[in-house]
């Protein structure tokens, strides 16, 4: 059940924005499409909603085919029985909160509209503001109305198009939890589109990372963070340092010739160009050399600058031609030497993909 997308292609004229992607969303599962702007995630969602017409491939919702251009089949959005939350909220300004939420119920001819409205507003905690007009609500409140409207008719599928991107940071955290809770209560499959890695990591059962109209990697949040398949995913999810490495015999070494121990699980010679990923929190940064243990790397570098963030200082350290981010609680002056220590297992080789705009967006 849930959603099943097979070989979905979407072109606008000669421009293809989705290149034959396939994925499933299981019943009750919360899946996130994550990627930089322009990667095709929103278009994918809109194809599933029926707001865009796919060029080819099939989409089935709960086992029922809703889009299959090859067989001239297209079920319009209003017959797909879904609830969708839009980035702009799209709360209708000419209707009250109550009337907004009642809309899907009345249009589907539900008998007890009032009860449905009360239920939905209660879930998002907006019962007291039922008579208000959208113009009298804050952004967060409008967001809740949009959410209540999406769930009011108890759809068999929930779709979210960057619903939190217009909220401020604190409200975003709270609403995130709330959306998760509501989805689990309703036990319906949900597809969530975002470019925000924190949202994706904290809410999803599974994340699908997209780049330039293709799926790069999918998996649960932990796997994506810990075992990214390439530089793009590593860079897009979480903070990442990259060390340029080369294979010399059976060993890997930095560009300046120093040896580097890497996670043996990732040490595959598959002919693709590799780069070493090192998360900032895996690095121990000291002013002087500490004792070296087996399976550990030790590099010396020079502090370029530091930012005081409260819990720790984030330093930029130059190691050879690479600049690394590392955290430390010790004060280090710019220009002073520093020693970086990290486990070989924390240093993973990933495919070196060409840098995309994701990097600048993410930084």
């Amino acid at each position: 059940m849930g959603i099943s997308v097979k070989n979905l292609v979407k072109s606008f004229g000669s421009l293809t924005v989705i290149h034959s992607i396939s994925f499933d969303v299981a019943d009750g599962e919360f899946v996130t499409l994550l990627g930089p702007s322009g990667c095709g995630k929103t278009t994918t969602l809109r194809c599933i909603a029926g707001l865009d017409t796919p060029s080819s491939g099939t989409i089935a919702i709960n086992g029922e085919m809703v889009s299959d251009p090859a067989n001239d089949l297209f079920v319009p959005p209003h017959e797909r029985d879904l609830g969708m939350v839009f980035q702009s909220y799209a709360v209708w300004p000419h209707l009250t909160v109550e009337e907004n939420v009642a809309f899907p119920l009345t249009i589907k001819g539900e008998r007890d509209v009032a009860a449905g409205v009360a239920w939905a507003l209660d879930i998002v905690g907006m019962g007291k503001l039922a008579k208000r007009r959208p113009s009298e609500l804050s952004g967060g409140q409008q967001q809740r109305v949009a959410l209540a409207r999406a769930i009011a008719a108890r759809p068999q599928l929930l779709l979210f198009d960057e619903p939190l991107s217009n909220l401020d940071a604190r409200l975003r955290d709270r609403t995130r939890l709330e959306i998760s809770r509501i989805q689990r209560e309703l036990k319906v499959p949900a597809l969530y589109v975002t470019h925000d890695q924190t949202e994706a990591l904290s809410m999803s059962d599974r994340i699908i990372v997209m780049e330039a109209g293709r799926i790069v990697q999918e998996g649960d949040p932990r796997a994506l963070y810990q075992q990214p398949v390439n530089r793009f995913v590593a860079d897009f999810i979480g903070g990442a340092n990259f060390l340029h490495v080369q294979r010399v015999g059976q060993k890997w070494q930095l560009e300046n010739g120093l040896p580097l121990e890497v996670d043996p699980a990732t040490d595959r010679d598959d002919g693709r160009s590799k780069i070493a990923l090192l998360r900032p929190e895996a690095i121990r940064l000291d002013a002087t050399s500490a004792s070296e243990a087996a399976g550990q790397n030790r590099l010396t570098g020079r502090v370029v600058g530091g930012m005081y963030l409260g819990p720790h200082v984030e330093y930029i350290v130059e190691v050879g031609a690479d600049r690394l981010r590392a955290y430390s609680r010790t004060a280090l002056a710019p220009g002073s030497p520093a020693v970086l220590t990290f486990d070989a297992r924390d240093c993973r080789l990933v495919d070196d993909t060409p840098q995309t705009e994701a990097r600048s967006l993410h930084a």
Binding site: F12, A49, G50, L51, D52, T53, E64, S67, P69, D72, L73, F74, V75, P76, P77, H78, E79, R80, D81, L82, G83, M84, F86, Q87, S88, A90, V91, W92, P93, H94, F103, P104, I107, K108, G109, A146, R149, A150, A153, L159
Partner: protein, 589 residues
């Protein structure tokens, strides 16, 4: 009057492909609204056909007509003589006169209109609201009635000369409105409110921080006005000037009333003269009409290009409170100027018409006058006039509704659905924008002499002419609103289970209501006072009020013409109040 600026492009996503994937019935779809891709496709074909018919038939007929050597409907030969005659000295002369009259009128109207807008919205002028109200009223003052009033005032036997001779005993100085300058004077009076209304929006919408930055940089108020405010308004001013030029080029009522007795002919009046007075030359009239339409269309294309640039430059839309510039010693000169303008464009013409309508024989001295109600009694008893009044109300009330609905349908396809060929539809809708009323009337005259449609002599033809002429305004008003409304508002309705038609009806229409109301208001008022498109196609049974006024004046019956004008204006004000009361959305400007 922001409706006159180009309708922007919406987002280009093809959420809708006509005739693409077939809609499939689902077992549980029975209780839902019927999927209506078919209805929308069918409606698109109808709308497309209607618009193409409205826009192309008159123009095609003109092209055919310009190649015939006889009057519409008569057997004749194909000929190129009409086009060859365009370069005759007479036509060239008329063309030059037209350009001079329109050009000078535009320049003066721009200067006065812009000055008034700056005075009202940028200085500590005491009565900004009263002045805006007066200008809005004079905007709706029909041009040919204004011309009539000024003929009564300024003709050789009119008020001014009477006063000069009888009261002051001056014989050496006399005034003659029947001249090029007379036409320009009345045209300027008529165009100033238009310029004001088009400039007012950009002035009020300008982000105050630009001007504040100039002030903090050390600019005096006048220096700021000269170096910041006016340059920033350059696009808006240029675009307003081009539209003003188009309106003066196609202006018919003023040059025909004032120019014909004074032997000053412009292209619009020449078309009329060629069709009305023997020896008629309908073919030459068609060729001149097409030439005039090409000139105005070029001006409109330029204006639309400017309007596109304008959006990228100036305004943020958040109007702010700006410290008004103190008028200082200029206060009284400015007050006098504003008072003078209101007097000559509104109050004086109104009073003169009222006076003329109440006297038996014309005299400038009210103490010599014999007062009478016979003109009003005549109207009361004249079946012909009553029919004209009823016709006017039917044509304005019903025609405006047809126009608004057609405009909404067009802009929904052009802005939202964007099916195959929507660009062509957009171009067709905008085509009549460049066709002057008298040219459109002539086109219809040619067309219905040949088309086997029983429309000639019906009110439907009049409605057809008006709807064609004002369809661009109707489509732009609703289109501008649709562009403002985020697509997701409708998409949210679809995902909530509403069909496309239900989304339009329950979400888009209620949210666009104020725009639709103001579009209806605009069309109603325009239809009520329209004369240039009617003058060649009306018949005895389809006469409207504007034509009745016209004929009375042409028969030198100033009294009856004035009484009818007063009646028309009373009706207009009554209708205006009624519409504004019934449709609060129309009030928004």
């Amino acid at each position: 009057m922001s409706v006159l600026q180009g309708s922007g492009a919406g987002r280009s996503e093809d959420g809708f492909r006509l005739g693409a994937p077939a809609l499939r019935a689902r077992p549980n779809a029975a209780r839902r609204p019927v999927a209506n891709g078919g209805v929308l496709t069918g409606l698109y074909v109808v709308v497309f056909a209607v618009v193409a018919f409205l826009a192309l038939v008159p123009l095609a007929a003109l092209v055919v007509g310009s190649l015939r050597d006889t009057s519409p409907g008569l057997p004749g030969q194909w000929t190129l003589a009409n086009w060859a005659n365009l370069v005759s000295p007479g036509v060239i002369d008329t063309l030059l006169t037209t350009l001079v009259v329109a050009g000078l009128s535009t320049i003066f109207a721009m200067i006065i209109g812009t000055a008034l807008a700056l005075v009202i919205h940028r200085t500590d002028f005491r009565w900004p609201n009263a002045m805006t109200g007066m200008l809005a009223l004079s905007f709706y003052f029909p041009s040919f009635i204004l011309a009539m009033a000024w003929i009564v005032i300024g003709s050789p036997g009119g008020v001014i000369n009477d006063v000069l001779r009888e009261f002051l005993g001056i014989e050496s100085v006399s005034v003659d409105i029947y001249s090029t300058w007379g036409i320009i004077f009345v045209m300027v009076l008529h165009q100033v409110p238009f310029v004001y209304l088009t400039i007012r929006g950009p002035i009020m919408g300008m982000d105050p921080s630009y001007e504040e930055a100039a002030r903090t940089a050390g600019a005096s108020p006048w220096c700021m006005l000269r170096r910041v405010t006016l340059p920033m308004l350059a696009y808006a001013l240029a675009s307003s000037a081009l539209l003003c030029l188009v309106l003066t080029l196609e202006q018919f009522g003023i040059p025909v009333l004032i120019g014909v007795p004074g032997h000053v002919t412009v292209l619009a009046t020449q078309i009329y003269l060629l069709c009305r007075f023997p020896p008629t030359a309908y073919g030459l009239a068609a060729a001149i009409g097409l030439t005039l339409a090409v000139i105005t269309s070029v001006a409109i294309l330029l204006q639309r290009r400017l309007a596109r640039g304008e959006r990228s430059v100036t305004t943020t839309g958040k109007a702010g409170k700006i410290t008004p510039i103190p008028l200082g010693v200029w206060r009284w000169p400015v007050n006098l100027f504003c008072g003078f303008y209101v007097a000559v464009s509104l109050i004086l013409p109104g009073l003169i018409l009222l006076y003329t309508s109440l006297i038996k024989f014309f005299t400038a001295n009210p103490f010599d006058a014999v007062f009478t109600f016979r003109n009003y009694l005549y109207i009361w008893n004249s079946e012909e006039t009553q029919r004209a009044i009823i016709n006017t109300i039917i044509v304005s009330g019903g025609g405006a509704l047809v126009g608004v609905l057609l405009g909404v349908a067009c802009s929904y396809y052009v802005v939202r659905l964007r099916p195959t060929g929507y660009r062509l539809l957009d171009a067709l809708v905008m085509l009549p924008f460049g066709v002057p009323g008298i040219v459109l009337g002539l086109g219809l005259l040619w067309a219905y002499a040949y088309l086997p449609l029983p429309l000639y002599g019906t009110l439907t033809l009049i409605v057809l002419a008006y709807v064609t002429r004002f369809l661009p305004y109707a489509a732009e008003t609703s289109g501008a609103r649709f562009v403002q409304l985020d697509r997701s508002l409708e998409e949210a309705a679809w995902t909530a289970g509403a069909s496309r038609l239900a989304g339009v009806w329950r979400i888009l229409m209620p949210l666009s209501l104020p725009s639709l109301q103001s579009s209806y208001f605009l069309l109603f008022m325009a239809f009520f006072r329209e004369i240039s498109a009617t003058i060649l196609i009306f018949t005895a049974s389809t006469s409207v009020l504007s034509v009745s006024i016209w004929s009375a004046f042409e028969q030198a019956n100033w009294g009856l013409a004035s009484a009818l004008s007063i009646l028309a204006m009373v009706l207009m004000v009554a209708m205006m109040s009624l519409l504004l009361w019934a449709m609060p959305g129309a009030r928004r400007r």
